[in-house]
């Protein structure tokens, strides 16, 4: 079966984001960018299903412009078979992204769609659920375990009370949590080889989809800083301080 993996280029998780001086957004120029960590887990899971002989082809897709290609190269270097860039310079919100992915889904007709459960920039966590809704297929969000059994995906999900397992008829959308797997390390020769793999470009504007934002970001600010604390020298002093402020 074919797996479609949707990935996003984000500011690397080790980098502290800075708001642009004019407040119009977060600075991404000359900032280390990487594949969204959850999406990397999604690619890895597809690769493991391929090793098991369940998945036969892995198509990576991203939406963006220019350097967005980098994350596709990363997925190809990990082992994805081919990649699609949906070229767009627009600021896309989750609903628009899921509409675009729906169009890609309809062209590719995969049995499995894998995405990260959230992107670490907007922290919205919506695209997988929205895509499943638009496609009218089942969803397995926050997956920490995935098995394909016949025509079903058996998904263990991390939830607030522990975990839950659901069975989804294929095709289905899976969103990945941190503990689903540990992505492989990409070696330099693989990155070189990935340069030879095909990346197809689709113009987002050719898809005829209304991607106008529903949400307007009117301000970005640093969160208020905590007031500076103090160092205590001993457990006894710590206990005394905590008692004095009524914390214990």
């Amino acid at each position: 079966m074919k797996a479609l993996v949707a990935i996003k280029r984000v500011i690397d998780h080790n980098i502290r984001p800075r708001i642009k001086p004019d407040g119009s957004g977060v600075e991404t120029e000359n900032v280390k960018m990487s594949i969204n960590p959850f999406d990397e887990i999604a690619v890895e899971e597809a690769l493991r299903l391929k090793t098991q002989g369940i998945v036969t082809e892995i198509v990576a897709v991203t939406i963006g412009h220019g350097h967005a290609q980098d994350v596709l190269r990363h997925a190809l270097a990990m082992g994805a078979d081919r990649a699609i860039l949906v070229d767009s310079t627009a600021q896309l919100q989750p609903l628009a992204v899921s509409k675009i992915l729906k169009a890609v889904y309809e062209r590719e007709q995969p049995q499995l769609v894998l995405l990260g459960k959230q992107a670490i920039d907007d922290d919205a966590g919506q695209v997988g659920q929205m895509l499943a809704a638009l496609l009218d297929i089942g969803q397995g969000t926050f997956a920490s375990k995935l098995e394909i059994s016949g025509n079903e995906a058996i998904v263990t999900r991390e939830v607030d009370t522990g975990s839950e397992t659901v069975a989804l008829q294929l095709p289905a959308v899976i969103t990945t949590d941190l503990r689903l797997n540990e992505p492989r390390f990409v070696k330099l020769p693989n990155l070189m080889m990935a340069k030879k793999k095909p990346i197809e470009t689709i113009q987002a504007t050719d898809l005829g989809i209304d991607t106008a934002p529903h949400l307007k970001v009117t301000n970005l600010a640093e969160p208020p800083a905590r007031k500076p604390g103090i160092k205590v020298n001993s457990v006894a002093e710590l206990v005394e301080k905590l008692r004095s402020v009524g914390a214990i």
């Binding site: 949590d177 941190l178 949400l215 600010a221 905590l242």
Partner: protein
């Protein structure tokens, strides 16, 4: 027009996050309706009807809703949504699974993880693991919102809402519930505990031994970093952070935690933060009210002993 809250319950009563959402919803000054789904919501509905600020409790009971699936509940929310101006729920795994699905079917956006509401449609929400605060205006006529429960006080009892019942849509044919594992422990609910004692991966196999007695003395819950959960020292639902549970207790004790942005995102709104770390430069000290540079294997037992006195 009214507000619909997708309200989580445990079969007997509302979860605290639902009560916090009820008080968040008062910002709009519109009647608040609660939607309770389950196989038998009678007891939970009766207790929910007593919460102040609730006008109506809508029960939707069906055998297949004993373990509600996103596909089913989203369809239900969609069928009700046209009568509402706002659909809101706490930003829990339950609602995060359901509301985006419902919103896409309604062709509207979701404003996620809201920490402040300015009626009618302006919201504050953290992005980039809480490193940036965004103000967002929603242009949709129907607003779908998830709120960060810890940013709002829990609504108290003092109401007398009407209780109505609606039939459930038939079960969807695309997904089915198989099983669940509840990480049973007698500790208080992490998200709402008044005290949280958290440890990092450096606690190793002694994770429980070092933290549980201290948490019990303080009547608090134990939390963990992702690294501690990944290593298998703590169950997944103890993870505090950007991708785990967000907590804001009166007292948060962080032992052997480096203070990565992803962890801070889940606890930096705690009232008082204590950090114990042997590295004086650890980032966790930047958010700590009281920092103790010490070896945790000595400091934690000493702290536990000192508190009992």
């Amino acid at each position: 027009m009214s507000i619909l809250i997708l309200a989580e319950h445990d079969g007997q009563q509302l979860r605290k996050a639902a009560r916090q959402t009820i008080s968040a919803a008062q910002a709009w000054g519109l009647p608040v309706h609660l939607l309770l789904v389950g196989d038998d919501t009678a007891a939970a509905a009766a207790s929910a009807a007593k919460v102040a600020g609730v006008a109506r409790v809508i029960r939707v009971d069906a055998p297949h809703l004993a373990h509600p699936l996103a596909e089913d509940v989203a369809a239900l929310v969609v069928s009700l949504a046209r009568d509402y101006k706002i659909v809101v729920a706490p930003h829990t795994t339950f609602a995060k699974n359901i509301l985006p699905r419902a919103a896409a079917l309604l062709d509207v956006a979701v404003v996620a993880d809201v920490i402040g509401i300015k009626a009618p449609a302006t919201y504050a929400r953290p992005i980039y693991a809480g490193s940036v605060l965004a103000t967002v205006e929603n242009t949709d006529a129907l607003q779908v919102v998830t709120v960060r429960a810890t940013s709002f006080d829990a609504a108290d009892d003092g109401g007398n809402a009407e209780i109505t019942s609606l039939p459930a849509p038939a079960a969807n044919g695309k997904s089915r519930w198989v099983s669940e594992v509840r990480n049973e422990s007698d500790q208080p609910d992490l998200a709402s505990a008044p005290v949280v004692v958290s440890g990092g991966r450096s606690l190793g196999e002694q994770f429980h031994q070092l933290l549980t007695p201290l948490a019990q003395k303080l009547e608090g819950a134990v939390g963990a970093t992702r690294a501690a959960v990944d290593a298998g020292y703590a169950p997944n639902d103890w993870q505090v952070g950007q991708t785990g549970t967000i907590v804001a207790p009166g007292l948060y004790i962080a032992a052997g935690i480096s203070g990565a942005a992803q962890h801070l995102a889940g606890m930096k709104d705690s009232k008082i933060i204590v950090a114990i770390n042997h590295d004086p430069d650890a980032a966790i000290f930047s958010v700590a009210d009281y920092g103790l540079v010490a070896d945790l294997f000595e400091a934690l037992p000493a702290l536990t002993a000192a508190i009992s006195k």
